[in-house]
């Protein structure tokens, strides 16, 4: 008996050293993972000279400093003394229409998601619950299209849009993403699990097929739709490649990633503060949502794992 207890103690001890080691390794990893986030936030708070001389720790001294650009405009020096945080963040918003970019980002991601659902949901319903000639063929086509990464066919898509005169429009940002084959596939798999009785009952009540989709199937699919929504919104809020291709000069249509990139393009080395402030502003919305609803986000982003 006592031997057994000793055994358990030995195991417990072994396990706790092992757990401690695991914690050490994971913490080291976490430090590397967090390093750029730390740098980004820290630089967005500091004054230019503190950034260049790598002084001031995380926050910087938060002393007022002279804004040379303001002096150049002919203002008195004492009027041009600014606080680093305020300077960085106001410059971020003033130098470029950042609010406009954020708004564009919201408009584009939301329209993409809404259209994806409007297109995919009826198709998924038909594939899962209606019998018709050619159904297998359509589903085979869906499975084939899952193989195609849209980014890879950017060039022909760009040519098509250019021929239609649609480059530099919101339409160009949205159109290639209106069809989500993955969304169709996902919803179809989900609808397969919905009992036929539910649909039959709705039909008995005299509901049209449209009514069934939007009033019966849609509400049952909310959890799957939320996961898909997160997947879609994160992908398109962060997307840089496609906007870079179709939006070439019109700043009014820039999405947040393009706005940040433009900032980098003309930053003359010493304007890291406002640039990092912009980066913080662009990254923060999704990170905050993620921290608030972690499980849902992880489910959503890794949805493609359900294939």
């Amino acid at each position: 008996m006592s031997e057994a207890i000793q055994d358990i103690r030995a195991t417990a001890f072994r396990f706790s050293t092992r757990a401690a080691l695991t914690h050490i390794v994971l913490t080291l990893g976490a430090l590397i993972v967090l390093l750029p986030f730390y740098t980004m936030i820290s630089l967005s708070l500091k004054a230019p000279h503190e950034i260049m001389q790598q002084t001031g720790g995380f926050m910087g001294a938060q002393e007022l400093f002279r804004d040379d650009f303001c002096v150049k405009l002919g203002n008195a020096v004492q009027d041009c003394m600014v606080n680093p945080i305020i300077y960085n963040y106001t410059t971020a918003f003033e130098k470029a229409p950042l609010l406009r970019y954020l708004l564009n980002g919201i408009v584009v991601t939301v329209s993409i998601f809404v259209i994806q659902v409007i297109v995919a949901l009826p198709c998924a319903y038909a594939l899962a619950k209606l019998r018709f000639w050619g159904r297998e063929a359509v589903f085979a086509l869906v499975l084939f299209c899952l193989l195609i990464p849209v980014h890879a066919i950017a060039l022909p898509l760009y040519i098509m849009l250019a021929k239609l005169g649609l480059t530099n429009t919101y339409a160009a940002l949205v159109i290639p993403w209106t069809i989500s084959v993955f969304g169709i596939f996902l919803m179809r798999q989900f609808f397969m699990t919905v009992p036929d009785d539910l649909i039959d009952a709705a039909r008995m009540d005299g509901m049209s097929e449209y009514g069934i989709i939007w009033q019966v199937m849609l509400p049952t699919a909310i959890p799957a739709l939320m996961a898909f929504g997160i997947f879609s919104i994160v992908a398109h809020w962060n997307d840089y490649f496609w906007p870079r291709i179709v939006i070439t000069g019109n700043r009014d249509l820039f999405t947040p990633p393009l706005g940040l990139r433009e900032f980098k393009g003309d930053a003359d080395g010493d304007n890291f503060g406002p640039m990092m402030a912009t980066a913080c502003i662009i990254v923060t919305p999704l990170i905050v949502c993620f921290l608030l609803a972690q499980r849902r986000f992880i489910e959503g982003i890794t949805l493609s794992g359900m294939k």
């Binding site: 993972v33 066919i153 060039l155 980066a279 794992g305």
Partner: protein, 306 residues
């Protein structure tokens, strides 16, 4: 159900969009890859396989394949390995491990373009935190390491602007960004392994942790691994954001980071050489499709959709 034509209205829009947005562009790319088309020109010459010949013979494209494969074959194994390692460690800790899960997943959520710009600053040769940290190690035992001593004596590498280091530095950022995604997939896989299997293995004489891993964990994670590897390949093949942000012109020092997506962008969009851009697109699609088909073949032996 009563015979109705409703399904046509349900399938129609999706089908039309699939054809117009996904299938026709592939046909266009295949067609244009045989020509010297440029946007704005009225017509185009048919040039046969000349574009493909260029891709497989010219040194620029040799560099393109070199950079792409270097990136892919460093990032995929390491993101998969680190993902699995992190998942197993986190899983062994139980609920406390969740905090690490959250942290490791952050890079997946953050816009890569923003984080690339931050990394570029961190790797900055004079004001970046990486070299500043390395310099602090000078004069210590680390100097016994020849590479380190050389760094202290002269300067530490320029990282992103040094042709010997650039592709590896970019790969590092890719790994930093991607392994959290694989970790989450592996965590899901680990939770679905029934604990009774470990008891059974123990009864059959699997004593060490390695035995348990070899006999239970690894085989049970098989399907997850197949999926994780494929999706990592497809994601890494598409690397673009960082390369464009670091090297808007030319694909890095001596074209050492000239990856395929950037080549498509440079040839097609910047230089308006649609023919060659389309040919690279076709080669790229072939790679991705072959990889996915291999994965399907693995998976199909287990499950059937229809």
């Amino acid at each position: 159900m009563q015979q109705s034509r409703a399904h046509l209205w349900f399938i129609g829009p999706a089908l039309a969009l699939m054809v117009v947005i996904l299938l026709i562009p592939i046909a266009i790319a295949a067609g244009l890859s045989l020509t010297d088309y440029s946007l704005g020109n009225s017509g185009a010459e048919f040039v046969g396989l000349e574009n493909y010949e260029k891709i497989f013979t010219r040194s620029t494209y040799e560099k393109m394949f070199g950079a792409t494969f270097r990136y892919v074959f460093v990032v995929v194994p390491l993101t998969v390995g680190l993902g699995l390692g992190a998942a197993m460690m986190i899983h062994s800790l139980g609920r406390i491990g969740d905090i690490y899960k959250t942290i490791y997943f952050l890079p997946v959520m953050a816009a890569l373009i923003a984080m690339a710009i931050v990394w570029e600053f961190a790797f900055h040769p004079t004001i970046g935190v990486v070299n500043a940290t390395l310099e602090r190690g000078c004069g210590t035992i680390l100097e016994n390491w020849a590479w380190y001593a050389k760094g202290c004596e002269r300067t530490f590498p320029l990282w992103l602007n040094d042709r010997d280091y650039a592709i590896w530095t970019v790969s590092f950022i890719g790994i930093w960004q991607g392994f959290g995604f694989n970790m989450v997939l592996y965590l899901a896989g680990l939770t679905s392994i029934p604990p009774s299997l470990y008891d059974a293995a123990e009864m059959d004489g699997a004593q060490s942790g390695w035995d348990r891993f070899r006999l239970v964990t690894w085989p049970m994670l098989g399907p997850t691994t197949v999926f994780v590897i494929t999706i990592s390949f497809i994601r890494t093949f598409q690397v673009f954001d960082m390369v464009e942000a670091f090297y808007p012109q030319g694909g890095g020092p001596s074209k050492s980071v000239y990856v395929m997506m950037f080549a498509i962008y440079e040839k097609g969009i910047q230089q308006n050489l649609m023919g060659i851009g389309a040919a690279i697109t076709v080669v790229f699609l072939a790679f991705v499709m072959i990889l996915t088909l291999i994965q399907r073949w693995f998976v199909e032996r287990r499950t059937h959709y229809v």
